[in-house]
Symmetry: D2
Subunit: 302 residues, 4 copies
């Protein structure tokens, strides 16, 4: 649950800020709303096709952004070279244009900052912070990712997750939380990892453990396999071992953890689920960014 | 989890039976498949539009049903007076026709047996058992119902269930399992009940408790309310107290627990979710019927 | 956890009462302290050897008891016929003497009321309530009983409870909570019960289930067995099946659930643990009585 | 739970080894028994006052140790400079004597290896492995440590842990498992840590979080505080803030995390609990060493 008390939140709210939220998807919209709820003065730009809470202000121009205490850019900040990521806008906003609208000394927070943006910011004299580089955001993002994966499994499986034999591959952030939540729903959870200390943790938290390297020949018997490792763990040979009807959910970012061609050939259903936080729980995902930005501000002021 | 050992299952399987599964939805299809997997000789009828595992035999006529050790009818056995419930068939099979195809002394298992069917069975000298009348099936059905409700909540809420404030109204079968599973996902769960012993149980299992009769004025602060009580608990006055954006899921059978007109007027989103087991987890639901029928047979043979 | 808000508590506290707590063990002492904390005027009698929080008043005589709004007697109210149960006092207080010190119309709350006390109360015109007869107190008492049993198991076993195979016999109040708490500690829990609906509940809460009547020959493999059934479930034949070193904890009230002679002969360690709440958690046990008495008052005033 | 299958165990057991277990407390005794159970040939030395399973062989001399495939020394291997740690023996065995009884090339496994022992081993040409240096053993040891701390809390508190407000200081191995197990028992758990990523984990696992550096003034309201940080976190000023009756359990190794003088002055009850695994669960602790040694052998043979 969130912080027991709001000491830090209170301290931050004491100072009302002028914030611009520029670009991004639904979670940036929710982020803007949450910042407004906390008493900040918020302006948005380049999200004009957002669903309509009319209270949230939206600007047609960048005029005024030079007075912002902080400009908040999306996660990821860009998907096309040189252009801001603005799925809720029809315009294409070059990063260069955006940077030039700012004053030297202004603060910009963005997610997955690129070398290009870094260079632009440095040239302009703008302080650039990458909130996605902070481990805490990665953990907070794992919460909706994991719940999204569970939702998909519920939608796809003809059985309940309760009582289902699940193999989670990998014991990083996603693997840890998947194990916890799936157990909470009554699934029978095995987690595979490579390191003996991870195997000790898996067991200490009450799951069964398997060596990832020794999975060959032991992949039968699961009704659901969720991969979290960004390497082709489920190649053709291993997919061949799966029981008929086993569902595979791949949470690994590109290139993914499953040989999709082999899966298609073998008739294994694979769902490659990316970017779940913004899709399944934009409010939670927006709040995660907000909390992380607050912590960054707090550390800067110390 | 299921039985630690399979003493009883083994005993039952020793005797391979001739079974007819007649009518019903996807869970009856799955039930037929599961019975086949256990080594019984299975015939189906009146589910010809089922999805296609071609191994499952299907008959065009009732010929041969007079040799069945047990005829298994759907849950509910009928939705239109005098007619078998056959959503996966184009034909209308009168219960009378079906009964007349049977021999005196044959066994029929059905769910939610009606007075009419009872009379027909008695007249024909057929032994009729209602598997839905057994408490164990109601509990086993609560498992997929509850998971279905959680799936709906995940799909509808813009936040994760993790960290969400949920009120569960009622502490019967559904309320008990909802509390357990929602806590397992990290929701903050309050359950309301009327009796002090139920309140004591709710607290002993680590949830917050509220008196259902004292809910007036205390319904704010929840992001999700799940009703399980078959009486209009959420009337206009109470719906008025909800926070904006609270999602209401009603699991109560007809007439339901929410004043839907008032909800529409107030802009409260209500999802009235019925018959979830067959929809979200037909295999689990079919297995629940199978286990219950096995236990009935076992008791008869003792 | 306790009630989300204190609506009812507030209502009750609005009326400060004159209360006498007479006799009993440490939990009655704690009960008296808790009642004082809630703002009542409390007097105690017949617990003069209690440990010393000096703030708690103690009377040398029964003088003044006739003004009490409620007189609270211990649980159990008597262990020797006709005499109040006063383990913390050197005197013997006949129930008759106590009743004669009261006025007709006064209220007395006691635990496990005997026929004798009922007759005395009726004769004197006193309103007598048995708080132990309320299911809610039995549930609230199960909480410390179960935790006490777990404490004993931790003290006695040379292994952690985590990972230990435990059989809980019986699925009443104690069995339900034992299963929940032991699972919370990471034990591998099997629960035995007789009824199919209980078996369905055991499985729905994620434990393994066994038929109590089919335990013969299946008692090996457990490191800990906790009996909650008040009948000799563990007779010589079954004790013979236990693995060497299996610990048995019997929570069943007299005559207990274990053939102690056979156990001694076979070298099976059995701990028969009675009256745990007052021993392991007197404050929790006192609070349980307080809450129950509050609810009784509340219902009387409605 | 332990490994799903015993692939690795099987591989190791295929090769029966000649093992000497020399010195140590009850967990080394249990370790020797467990190694015997796995089919190895086991000899013990310098634990002659051990409790009596007579099957376990014990030698009066070191003769024959030169044929051992592996010599297993205790954890910690020494508490007095130059002398083996032999709490279950009356003799004092110098490390030097022990090393000289070995042949060059033999393998020795010991816990918390000292510089002195390293030098002796190198001089003798013996392969020395420190099983305590492996993270997996530290995790496996945390399991009984945490359960021991819970046992102490149950013994000392006049309430149940269920419903009790607990503060765990530190989120390393002990903090992580304490949070998990205490929640499993129904305690209300707050964990304090310094790093924002740890705070994010604490919340993601469903506990409340506090900044360790911001605890000043926020230590009231807890009935139990368990410290795991090896630094004086609970100094006089902080102890002063505790509620009357708060129990403090300190799991930090020397110099401990509590100002004991201040605690004595303020009347705060502090239990400084060290070396819990060997005390509360010697079998579990012995099994942890066994598994770790197996993994070391396995890696050597790869």
């Amino acid at each position: 649950m969130e912080h027991h008390d709001n000491k830090e939140g209170v301290a931050i709210l004491r100072k009302e800020r002028n914030l611009w939220v520029v670009g991004g998807d639904l979670r940036q919209v929710k982020l803007a709303e949450l910042l407004m709820d906390d008493g900040h003065w918020v302006q948005t730009y380049a999200m004009e096709r957002r669903p309509s809470p009319p209270e949230l202000p939206g600007s047609d121009t960048l005029r005024g952004i030079e007075h912002a205490d902080c400009v908040i850019l999306p996660l990821p900040v860009t998907v096309e070279e040189g252009i801001l990521n603005t799925p809720l806008s029809d315009q294409k906003l070059p990063l260069k244009t955006l940077m030039e609208a700012l004053q030297p000394g202004q603060m910009v927070c963005a997610g997955r900052v690129t070398t290009e943006l870094k260079a632009l910011a440095q040239k302009r004299g703008v302080t650039l912070c990458d909130y996605f580089a902070r481990e805490e955001l990665a953990i907070k993002n794992a919460v909706p990712t994991v719940e999204g994966a569970i939702q998909i499994a519920m939608e796809e499986l003809p059985t309940t997750l309760f009582g289902t034999r699940v193999l989670v591959i990998g014991y990083g952030r996603l693997g840890k939380l998947l194990a916890h939540r799936l157990k909470g729903l009554g699934a029978r959870v095995t987690v595979s990892a490579r390191r003996y200390d991870d195997l000790a943790w898996i067991e200490a938290y009450g799951c069964w453990s398997e060596h990832t390297e020794q999975l060959d020949g032991w992949l039968g018997g699961y009704q659901l396999i969720i991969n979290t490792v960004p390497a082709v763990v489920l190649d053709g040979a291993r997919l061949h071992d799966l029981d008929e009807g086993t569902l595979v959910i791949d949470l690994a970012s590109r290139p993914g953890g499953v040989d999709l061609e082999a899966a298609a050939r073998l008739g294994v259903k694979v769902i490659w689920a990316l970017s779940l936080p913004g899709k399944v729980a934009p409010v939670t995902a927006g709040a995660a960014i907000r909390d992380t930005i607050y912590h960054m501000w707090q550390e800067m002021e110390q």
